[in-house]
Amino acid sequence: MESQIILLIFILVLSIFLGVELITKVPSTLHTPLMSGANAISGITLVGAILSSGSSDILTIILGTAAVFFASINVVGGYLVTNRMLGMFKKK
């Protein structure tokens, strides 16, 4: 358990540094799509929601199912709206 937590913290730290490196160079033209695209990624909590929703405990199922609902709005809406915006960015 303890070693698993340490490993996950290790992943966390590396991911944060990676995120900083990835984003620093984004031109301001793309700030909105970047934000809404990143927001869609934060809907990854859907994975946790699915696992909770498939539980056997009734209260867990209720909470998990509500989580699946909200997270899938975030994921589907987020990706689609980002795609719609990016479709408008054109160069002549």
Partner: protein, 461 residues
């Protein structure tokens, strides 16, 4: 092959797709593909999670997935581009509440004797709750359901401190004692406190500071997912959540720098709520010089370089299409046309860029302040459309001004400045703008869309 191994390999693939996708979002040429890759990563992660052998019943999952996807689909395809800031805000909020619910679900079903597990739940519920109500308030302010004015009251810091102390006490009780109140009561109390904190955190912040708040809430929604990853010990949640958390923080930082203010100052000062009296002496600065659209047309017709500086007022007036048309006519007339966009113009990071892209303005003529400021003397006409604070020369010249030190677009250095403005009311920061009184400034009063349309018909006629 072992299912657990397969699931983990798929999570690695998802993480790679998120990382490459985010990387490709950094350039206009690859951004769309990047978004597609990132969404493929999400689809893979969701499909592989459905293979989990501990899932007992699929019907609730399927129902919620379908319902959420339908809502998301309609929200994303029906929303107007001008409503994009509130859309992004509310999606952030949904991500936050989803993480809160995941944390809560694990709490009510888990064995409550591991402080690391409980600590992760505490953070998930806290950050998720703050993200949720904070985003709802931001949504309300952006869609003008509630006033966009900063809302301050006496003893605000005191109330916030009390709230934080209460949250800490609940947290300690949750992690270590568990005897004071039942675990259900602890959870409900924590959710309630997190909700109140989210409301109190966004309520004092004014409309003009919304780009910072949205970027910050974006970061929070990622951090909440990341904390949920520690609850269920799932590495893809941690990687994806951390990426979003980091990107949101960088955007927040860019927005703060563009206003020359610290994050603490944005969050706690209620900027512009109480204009201090020291500035009143500078309010009378002479006469403004109005100009008619017909006279403005004559000047524009003779101009060989034109710089358009849009602000939130352009979004309000829905003038972006008329502006694009005017830009094209100016180009046909032989002028070089560029659009200078300040990072905090509008209500979210990149707001003006999205509106102009919607109106078919090519993204390579959208430039940033540091690109145009050095060559501002060579610009014949600057057209300021619905922007105010981002072109306020006080930021350079008046040390007593609340916006002193903020990087601006130095339109006052160009040969002629047209300011399209509804009236002489001050900007969202509530401060006077000496630009309007400069000798090379002409005011075009009226609705921005109508004014620009008049100019367009002058060019055509």
């Amino acid at each position: 092959m072992d299912t657990a191994l397969l699931v983990n390999l798929a999570y690695i693939a998802s993480s790679i797709l998120f990382i490459v996708g985010l990387k490709m979002l950094g350039s206009p040429d690859t951004a769309r593909r990047g978004n597609f890759l990132s969404s493929s990563g999400m689809l893979l992660a969701v499909l592989i999670t459905l293979l989990d052998q501990n899932i007992i019943d699929y019907k609730y999952i399927a129902g919620a997935l379908v319902a959420g996807s339908v809502v998301g689909y309609f929200a994303a395809t029906k929303v107007k581009m001008t409503s994009m800031p509130e859309m992004v805000a509310i999606f952030n909020g949904f991500g936050g509440i989803a993480s809160l619910l995941v944390g809560s679900a694990e709490y009510v079903s888990g064995t409550l004797n591991n402080p690391a597990f409980l600590g992760a739940i505490f953070l998930t519920v806290l950050i998720g709750g703050v993200t949720f109500t904070g985003s709802i308030i931001a949504y309300g302010k952006l869609s003008e359901v509630i006033s966009g004015k900063p809302y301050l009251y006496k003893g605000q810091q005191f109330v916030n401190s009390l709230l934080l102390i209460a949250i800490l006490i609940v947290g300690v009780n949750m992690l270590f004692y568990q005897g004071l109140i039942t675990s259900e009561q602890t959870l409900i109390l924590l959710i309630g406190l997190a909700f109140v904190l989210g409301i109190l955190f966004v309520i004092p912040i004014g409309g003009a500071d919304m780009p910072v708040v949205i970027a910050l809430l974006n970061s929070f929604s990622g951090l909440a997912a990341c904390a949920a990853g520690f609850v269920i010990l799932n590495n893809v949640l941690i990687v994806a959540g951390a990426l979003v958390g980091a990107s949101g923080l960088i955007l927040t930082n860019i927005m703060c720098k563009a206003m020359n203010r610290s994050l603490a100052n944005v969050l706690f000062s209620g900027f512009g709520a109480a204009p201090d009296s020291s500035n009143e002496s500078s309010q009378e600065q002479g006469e403004v010089k109005p100009i008619s659209a017909e006279d403005a047309y004559l000047i524009l017709e003779a101009a060989s370089s034109v710089l358009i500086v849009p602000g939130y007022g352009m979004a309000v007036a829905q003038a972006q299409h008329a502006v694009r048309e005017l830009g094209e006519l100016l180009e046909e007339n032989g002028a070089e046309v560029k659009y200078a966009i300040h990072p905090v113009a509008g209500r979210m990071p990149g707001h003006m860029n999205v509106l102009l892209a919607e109106a078919n303005v090519s993204y390579d003529v959208l430039v940033e302040p540091e690109d145009v400021n050095p060559i501002m003397e060579t610009v014949d006409v600057c057209m300021v459309i619905g922007a105010n604070d981002v072109v306020n020369p006080d930021a350079k010249e008046n040390e007593g001004s609340p916006i002193y030190g903020m990087p601006i677009i130095e339109v006052d250095n160009s040969k002629t400045v047209f300011v399209l403005k509804r009236s002489m009311a001050s900007g969202f920061a509530g401060i006077q703008n000496p630009l309007f009184f400069k000798s090379n400034t002409r005011m075009l009063f009226g609705d921005a869309k109508e004014t620009v349309s008049t100019l367009v018909s002058e060019f055509k006629g």
